[in-house]
Amino acid sequence: MTSSSVRLSAVTKSFNGTDVIKGVSLDVKQGELVVFVGPSGCGKSTLLRLIAGLETPTSGEIVIADKDVTYAHPSKRGVAMVFQSYALYPHMTVEDNIAFALKIQGRPKAEIRAKVHEVAEILQLDHLLQRRPKALSGGQRQRVAIGRAIVREPDVFLFDEPLSNLDASLRGQMRVEIARLHRKLGATSVYVTHDQIEAMTLADKIVVLRAGLVEQVGSPMTLYRHPANLFVAGFIGSPRMNILPATFAGSTADSVRIQTAQGSLIIPRKDVSKPASDKIQLGLRPESLSFAAPGAEAHLTGYVTLIERLGGETFAYVALKEFECEPIIIKLDGETPVHNHQEVALTIELKRAHLFDADGLALGHAPDFDPAQV
């Protein structure tokens, strides 16, 4: 199976004068699975449809497998798409649905049969071939939709929120199946989702979009550890990163001194230039906060206002003294004793702390981050 890359250069798209995609450049390498995430309406589907050829860009260039396909017909791009609605032909059996593209291509009957059965086997659809879509469960329909894409052996797979109509447990199951399939076929894939877990687990590379612009591109862990701005920091990770107001109080080659409502902190941080405004923000992920061990230094103090026990882990909401901000969330081991209104002292894993300037851009980067690698 051949695989090839997708390249977008300064692609824009406007509908009736409204700019929806405002200049997106992007490179998808061979065999890579790239995930688009972003809030509703940010243009994920539009971008995917531009790649598919279901929309034509207002400007810019789209290259697939080294061919300029900016204005090419969808069928001439070597792409197959799995729709959120599945888009199965309701009047055809599963077999006919999967065979549709091959029939259109006029392949010999025997070849079509063989291919369809091969695909059905991969997706465990063999026993369902004679059914109509309405007689299938959601997960089975999803698999048929994927089968219809696979059978064409496309250069690029496009997925638009393929799992969003499934319930949580089925979604988890299908997610694993898609990952397995991607490893097996190794085809270049572009995958749109709302779901953090899908993005984190499936992606070789995540593209975070906001209002028609790319906010950041990187591997899941890069985005998690080194968000380039507040938006990405807030978008990736659940529960969200806690954001606290702070003041810039000077920096050295590998650290920044900040002033908070509860005193000053030294944050290990590289390549920091003095920000235009002293008003900065401290970003702390729930798991980089913990209860201070007895006798150890406490960075923050406050009161527990709410406890969510999930079993294996517990989230404690802590209202910080002196701070004028929402209670922060702390991720604790499920066994940690904690009760409401408890006064707690917190330790920050300082090298995992994030800093953002007044414009929301990351201030420098963590010491273990290598900008050249991205």
Partner: protein, 302 residues
């Protein structure tokens, strides 16, 4: 005092009375009359019971047989042509064109006007020997045809009048087309299916319930066509456009053979019933319903 039940009865009374008076009663009465030799001008009491004589009479009635043939010809030409035409226009109007609203209205307009007697009269002038069509032909130097005077073209003119009223079928088709999800076509686009193949492989199968509905409606309507032959051709020439409804009318109200006329009505009724029944029976072979009843092996949820 009034209780709820009485008030409820009051609300349905207009329909029930209307139904009994203008549907149920004539229905029964016409059947009874069809078994008599009732004449329009006589007292009903003087009519004699004649059994099935009116029905056996039809076997000897050359006019009836001619009329029956003409009626079938008319229906078999008009219904498919009209359905095809309505579907074609609906598909065109379903494209995202500029000023599409205007075209939709424009194409529906004939159906609002078309059923009226006034339009039938206009039609007569259009097709008359010195009518619009022939005048137009004359301008470009062609000698016109006596449209309403020739058996073939007279039939053609009343078929055309009916075809021209494709609007209601078109609107139903249009609604059916709108109900087909856009992403099915997008998926087909990606698979490289041409517009024409998309029509045959996706649009038409998914439109069969609507096609079925329109088919029944058109069959029923076409068998009852009266205005066209009555006003435009008078059934002529040589009874070439003498549709059954016109014959029923003339037998009853021109020749006063109320009994025979009633019997003819019942024959028409049975013909329509048989066609409708055949259509319903054939459904399972060609009509696709998204929520369909068969498909037992699928374990489909109801």
């Amino acid at each position: 005092m009034f209780n709820d039940k009485k008030i409820g009865s009051l609300y349905v009374a207009p329909f029930v009375i209307g139904f009994l008076l203008f549907t149920a009663f004539p229905f029964v009465a016409s059947f009874v009359l069809s078994l008599t030799d009732a004449q329009l001008q006589d007292q009903l009491g003087s009519a004699n019971f004649t059994g099935l004589q009116n029905y056996t009479e039809m076997g000897r009635d050359a006019t009836f047989q001619k009329s029956l043939g003409v009626t079938f010809f008319y229906v078999f030409i008009t219904v498919p042509l009209k359905l095809a035409f309505a579907l074609f226009i609906a598909v065109v109007l379903n494209f995202k064109l500029r000023a599409i609203g205007f075209f939709r209205t424009a194409y529906y307009l004939p159906s609002i006007l078309g059923g009226s007697v006034a339009i039938a009269i206009v039609w007569r002038f259009v097709f008359a020997g010195d009518g619009l069509i022939n005048q137009a032909l004359e301008i470009i130097g062609i000698t016109g045809v006596n449209w309403l005077g020739e058996p073939n073209t007279a039939m053609f003119s009343i078929i055309l009048l009916r075809l021209w009223q494709f609007g209601s079928a078109m609107v139903v088709f249009l609604a059916g087309l709108k109900a087909i999800p856009e992403d099915l076509y997008e998926a087909a686009d990606l698979d490289g299916a041409s517009r024409v193949r998309q029509f045959w492989m996706i649009t038409l199968p998914l439109l069969t319930p609507v096609l079925f509905f329109n088919f029944i409606m058109q069959i029923v309507q076409a068998f009852q066509e009266f205005n066209g032959p009555y006003i435009i051709t008078g059934g002529g020439p040589l009874k070439s456009s003498y549709l059954l409804p016109l014959m029923i009318y003339e037998e009853g109200f021109k020749y006063f053979n109320l009994g025979y006329s009633s019997a003819l009505s019942w024959v028409l009724f049975v013909i329509i019933a048989v066609f409708t029944a055949i259509a319903f029976w054939s459904q399972k072979h060609w009509v696709f319903y998204a929520q369909d009843r068969e498909d037992k092996n699928g374990g489909a949820q109801k």
